[in-house]
Point group: C2
DNA sequence: TATAATTTTTAGCTTTGCCTAAATTTAATT
DNA sequence: AATTAAATTTAGGCAAAGCTAAAAATTATA
């Protein structure tokens, strides 16, 4: 499997986890910042290898084989992110691009030994679940902060957007995984939130609230 | 820099360290298990980028820029080998192929943090020196066991051949880096050696002796 | 030194993965 | 239902990195 094939599988996997309908050529092209015609080429190739179900003009879905392959790539990505943060002391906003490279290293033995070395973590530094060696995922019940109501209290357990900009913003506001968050007020005008994080009170926009997972 | 370019630079670097004359197209082709015509193509490309000095029909050498680039790849390869052996508990005969992949990961910050995490080792699991972040190498005085004389005693500090087969043979004979080796007898007929390793006496062929570094 | 053998390069072709532009299919709108 | 708009595919091309076969340069040998 080439890097490019792996990247397509991963993209289709991520898009599927959002909607769970067939994925359009354009959606893939946009996510991968490439052209629709390139996507069509690759879908034919992946279909040939039985990694996706592809019907011309109708979109794609992953086959069981393709889904497992995608999960193994995600597993590698997230385990490497754990390694970078926990062992090499990277911050959570720096690890994505490096893990994007490391996820393509081919060695089952390596990834399983890395898994053990890290203590078999079930979540990466952004709170996303890590598939086990068989592709099984432990799903954690969680809601977006934006869906919470006034006076509710929860713990931040994940982020939806994992961009460096967003993560740095959270660092600045001292919001981290494990932080306790209490909704003090919901502003109906702009849907912003007044929240308490630890001992501090701050105001966050709806966009921020829509990218924080709470439990 | 592409993976392929990096592999060519690394190969030229290794060939240079053996002979230190200009390297022939065929020598590179043989080492990389590719065709001479492919090598010619790449040499033009590397020359264009000022990474090698290339004169048609006359062979190549690395420029300063090329040599530094090659050393950085070697640095990455050997640091990853240390990681695999020391942290993930791989044996020294398993790490080459994986490090061959890992050496192409692009992130200076990563490799320097890995270096620190490992305690800034100066040698990899086969006793080969690890260039520092500036490309500097600490050379250790060492001789091939085959050049030793009867009754001499030394410590095994490296291996010339790093193939899995050779390393497994050494494991079987309980020869490791740090082992004390004493020459009991040199057999003139086939140039084999009778040696004492720790408390055991064994016979090794000249080929084996020609691939063990002793200090 | 002339010729043979070897090495190296050139020329032209293949595959992968991407692109643009044109054609086709599907979806939306009047 | 017909037409327009949007999405998708096809056709044809490009660059990287490899290959084979033929040409050219270098080296070895008679």
């Amino acid at each position: 499997m080439t890097f490019s094939e792996e990247n397509y599988l991963k993209t289709i996997y991520h898009l599927t986890s959002v909607s769970d309908t067939d994925i359009s050529t354009n959606a893939i092209a946009e996510k991968m910042e490439t052209k629709a015609s390139s996507v069509t080429d690759m879908l034919k190739k992946l279909s040939e290898k039985d990694l996706v179900n592809y019907v011309k003009y109708q979109g794609v879905s992953l086959t069981d084989k393709g889904k497992l392959a995608a999960k193994m790539i995600v597993r590698k990505h997230r385990l490497w992110e754990c390694f970078l943060v926990e062992k090499l002391d990277f911050s959570w906003d720096e690890v994505h691009d490096i893990a994007e490279q490391l996820e393509h290293i081919k060695s089952e033995k390596l990834i399983n030994k890395l898994d053990d070395f890290l203590g078999n973590p079930t979540e990466d530094p952004h709170g996303d679940p890590i598939p086990d060696a068989n592709g099984r995922i432990i799903k954690v019940e969680k809601q977006l902060l934006s869906e919470f109501e006034k006076n509710q209290i929860g713990i931040c357990v994940g982020v939806k957007d994992t961009s460096s900009d967003f993560l740095k913003y959270l660092d600045k506001q001292e919001i981290a995984l494990g932080s306790q968050i209490e909704i003090i007020e919901k502003e109906s005008f702009d849907s912003s939130f007044r929240i308490r994080v630890g001992s501090k009170e701050i105001t966050i926009s709806n966009k921020i609230a829509s990218n924080l997972y709470i439990k």
